[in-house]
Symmetry: C2
Subunit: 209 residues, 2 copies
């Protein structure tokens, strides 16, 4: 392979950056684990910071590609589309069979933003927000002012993200065993039912597992 070391560097760097953060990750550790020379990062990327933004960019693309957001046909009931939306978010977050550092790195960047944050919001978050707001347009009264519509969206997304960002809290609170029982479907069903009820809607039977 041509740029094999460059690819190896990107992947292991992303893993370590996601795990420890930018400052705590050292180039030597990255290169050693990637079986590359220390000078390779300078040669291929310029410096540490450029390597970092490259990993963020990679994570962003990969994350979108691996579990693409399903097309939500306009004739599908809004409640069911909401269930699909929430389910896809949980899928992206908790699905264990893919490299987990992609989302991990992105969420770290979103919580403690550097210069790479804006790109994520623009390319990754914004489309999701638009998709959710389209769904909500059918579930909310037409005269609801814009700020309130945003808050409803935040209430839904906040529920989902909580399970990812605060895994340590949840584990310590309910115990490891109960945590393992939290499946993607269970959580997606709960959040969807909870949110639909908050909007005065019922959970459609055909999607409630």
């Amino acid at each position: 392979m041509l740029d094999d070391t460059k690819r190896r560097l990107l992947n292991t760097a992303g893993q370590i950056f996601a795990d420890k953060g930018f400052e705590a990750a050292s180039i030597r550790e990255i290169c050693q684990q990637a079986e590359a020379n220390i000078a390779a990062v300078h040669y291929h990327f310029g410096d540490k910071k450029q390597l970092y933004v490259a990993t963020v960019r990679l994570a962003q693309c990969a994350q979108s590609d691996e579990i693409p957001f399903p097309e939500l046909p306009a004739d599908m009931p809004a409640a069911q589309r909401l269930r699909t939306f929430v389910g896809t978010m949980f899928e992206r977050m908790l699905s264990a069979d893919r490299p987990k550092w992609h989302l991990q790195l992105m969420l770290r960047e979103l919580s403690y933003p550097t210069e790479a944050c804006e790109a994520i919001v623009h390319d990754y978050i914004r489309p999701m927000a638009d998709s959710l707001r389209t769904i909500l347009a059918e579930l909310l009264p037409g005269d609801m002012p814009e700020p309130e519509r945003w808050q409803v969206g935040f209430s839904i997304v906040g529920q989902v993200l909580f399970y990812y960002v605060h895994q340590p809290i949840i584990r310590l609170l309910i115990g490891d065993e109960a945590y393992r029982n939290l499946t993607v479907d269970t959580l997606a069903d709960h959040v969807t039912r909870f949110s639909l009820a908050a909007l005065g809607q019922r959970m459609p039977q055909e999607v409630a597992s």
Copy 2:
């Protein structure tokens, strides 16, 4: 004052730790900003790590003292107690007149836990969780199984924490001006109303501002 430098060290260290994280914060920067000698941290705390856990412990205590959780009298309607609970959380998070590094440091520790995390969960989170679960006991059907009760609690707390943890996203999504319009009361009202509706309850009029 006797231990003035020790106190100064704790406060500026906590600020910097909260801002940059443990690894990225340097002892020299802390000491310079605290107007203390570099050896002072070794003298008063032992090493950098012990200084860090001391700041976390301080943040934890201060955070509880400054905005103590109000006693929720048992004869107050559960819906109103929920509004108070949510309001206090927002108060702790967004009230601008207190040093903000306390909660900032605690939430950083909760998202990326070190050894100090368990103590926070045990001494700070657990009591809050118990308080919320007591309120929910009156709002939820008595035969609801334990895991679902937890999920309802997470749905409520998740909504609240979202506004703190993901401030950067919110700002970029809705714009700076709209963000400034989000007051503690507005948000607490929304989250409470949303959650109560999800549980089939109405927002009590006397607390809806």
